[in-house]
C-alpha cells in the first residue's frame, strides 16, 4: 500500500514542482491552474492511500515472502452474467445522441438508464461470496 500511495503523491509533488517553475517563469495563470488541479489529483488519492497504509498491516500482495496458507477471506464478489451494463450503455448512448438529434432520443435513453439503474441495483445482492 505504501508504494501505491507514493506513486500518487509523487505525481502530485511533480506537478507542484512544475507549476512553481512554470508560473514563476511565465506568469501565466490559466495554464498554471491546470497544473495545480493535476497536483491535487495526485495528492488527494495519495494521502488517502497513505492514511490507510499506516492503519493496516502489510497486505499479502505487499509482502515478498508470504505463503498462501496465511491467506483467508474473500477476494471479492465477481458477477458472472448480467444484461444491465448493456442496457445502461445503450441508454447513455441514446441520451448522448440528444445533443445532436434533439430531446426525443433522450426520452427513450433515460428509460433505458432508469430501468438499468433499478435492475442493476436489485440484481447486485451477492448470492455467494467467492473465496480464494
Amino acid at each position: 500500500m505504501k508504494l501505491e500511495s507514493r506513486i500518487y503523491v509523487g505525481v502530485g509533488v511533480f506537478f507542484v514542482l512544475v507549476v512553481v517553475i512554470y508560473f514563476l517563469w511565465s506568469g501565466d495563470s490559466g495554464n498554471s491552474i491546470f497544473l495545480v488541479a493535476s497536483a491535487l489529483l495526485g495528492i488527494m488519492p495519495g494521502l488517502y492511500l497513505g492514511w490507510w497504509s499506516r492503519r493496516m498491516s502489510p497486505r499479502p500482495e505487499d509482502r515478498e515472502d508470504v505463503s498462501l496458507e496465511e491467506i483467508e477471506g474473500a477476494v471479492g464478489y465477481f458477477p458472472s452474467y448480467t444484461i444491465w451494463p448493456f442496457v445502461l450503455g445503450i441508454g447513455v448512448f441514446l441520451t448522448a445522441l440528444a445533443f445532436v438529434f434533439g430531446a426525443w432520443t433522450a426520452v427513450i435513453g433515460m428509460g433505458f438508464v432508469i430501468s438499468a439503474a433499478i435492475g442493476g441495483t436489485l440484481s447486485s445482492k451477492p448470492k455467494a461470496m467467492a473465496h480464494r
Binding site: 511565465s26 501565466d28 495563470s29 490559466g30 495554464n31
Partner: protein
C-alpha cells in the same frame, strides 16, 4: 482571466532565456561548440533542408543541420548494437543464456550521455530561438498581414498600399508580398476568422495567424527571388488553395515599386 497567458495577446511577456542565467561551464562550452559547429556547418551537406533565404531562416537551417548531424551517431548507437544482436545472437540451440538482470554502470552511462546531449541541444536551441524570434525596435519596413478564408491581405501602413487575394476556389489570384533585400521587415500577423498558418518554406519559417492575437516577427531577406507561401494550418474547405508569393527585390527596386503602387492607390 485578463492577465492570463491564454489570451495570447501581444502583451504576453517576451521571456527569452538569457544565456547568462545558465551555469558558466555550460555557457562557455555551449557557445564555443555551437559557434564552431555553426561555422563549420557551412560546408556540410544540407540534408534536403532549405537553406533559408533570410538571416533568421539561415540560423534555423544551421540549427537543423546540426541536429541532423548529431542525430547520426545517436541513430547508429541504436542500430549498430541492434543489428549486431540480430545477427550474432540468433537461436542456435535450446541452451539458456546467462540470466543478466541489470548492470548499473551501463545503465548510468545511457542515462547520463543522453542528458548531456539534450542539454547541449537546448543551449543551441535557445541561442537560435532568441535570434529567430527577435523583433527589431526600428525595422526598415512594417507590413500588416491578415489571413482570412481563403486568402491573405498584405498592407504596407506607411505607404497606404494593400494587396489582397482575389476570389476563392480554383480561380484565385494570389497576392504578392514584396520585401526589400538586406533590410529588416517586421510582419504584424493576425487572422480575421479561423486559425491560419503563415508559412514560407524557403524562409524556414511559419507562424500562426490567430484571431485576436497580434503576432510580430522579423524577416531580413538575404537573396532576391520569388518564393511561394502557403497556409499551413487547416482552415476549412479551400485550405490547400490559400497560396501567396513573396518577392524579394533590391531596396531600390522596392522603393520604385512601392511609390508606383501608392501612386496607383491614390490615383484610383
Amino acid at each position: 482571466m485578463r492577465a492570463s497567458g491564454l489570451l495570447g495577446s501581444a502583451s504576453f511577456p517576451r521571456r527569452l532565456v538569457h544565456l547568462s542565467r545558465l551555469p558558466k561551464v555550460v555557457r562557455v562550452v555551449g557557445t564555443g561548440l555551437g559557434a564552431s559547429l555553426v561555422l563549420g556547418a557551412c560546408n556540410l551537406p544540407t540534408f534536403a533542408i532549405n537553406k533559408g533565404a533570410t538571416t533568421q531562416g539561415r540560423d534555423t537551417f544551421h540549427l537543423f543541420q546540426l541536429f541532423t548531424i548529431i542525430s547520426i551517431p545517436v541513430l547508429l548507437s541504436v542500430f549498430v548494437p541492434l543489428g549486431w544482436a540480430i545477427f550474432r545472437y540468433r537461436k542456435k540451440d535450446e541452451s539458456i543464456p546467462k540470466q543478466t538482470h541489470s548492470h548499473i554502470p551501463v545503465e548510468v552511462t545511457w542515462t547520463v550521455i543522453p542528458i548531456l546531449i539534450v542539454a547541449f541541444l537546448f543551449v543551441l536551441t535557445v541561442q537560435v530561438e532568441n535570434k529567430v524570434t527577435a523583433v527589431s525596435s526600428h525595422p526598415n519596413l512594417r507590413v500588416n498581414v491578415v489571413g482570412f478564408q481563403w486568402g491573405w491581405k498584405f498592407n504596407y501602413p506607411s505607404f497606404g498600399v494593400t494587396k489582397v487575394t482575389q476570389g476563392v476556389g480554383g480561380s484565385s489570384v494570389y497576392p504578392q508580398l514584396v520585401l526589400p533585400e538586406g533590410e529588416t521587415t517586421t510582419i504584424h500577423l493576425v487572422s480575421n476568422d479561423v486559425v491560419h498558418g503563415f508559412y514560407v518554406p524557403q524562409f524556414d519559417f511559419s507562424r500562426y495567424a490567430l484571431p485576436g492575437v497580434n503576432n510580430y516577427f522579423d524577416f531580413t531577406p538575404t537573396q532576391t527571388g520569388t518564393f511561394i507561401g502557403r497556409c499551413s494550418q487547416l482552415c476549412g474547405l479551400y485550405h490547400s488553395e490559400m497560396l501567396f508569393t513573396v518577392k524579394v527585390v533590391t531596396p531600390a527596386q522596392f522603393n520604385s515599386w512601392i511609390s508606383q503602387q501608392s501612386h496607383n492607390t491614390i490615383g484610383a
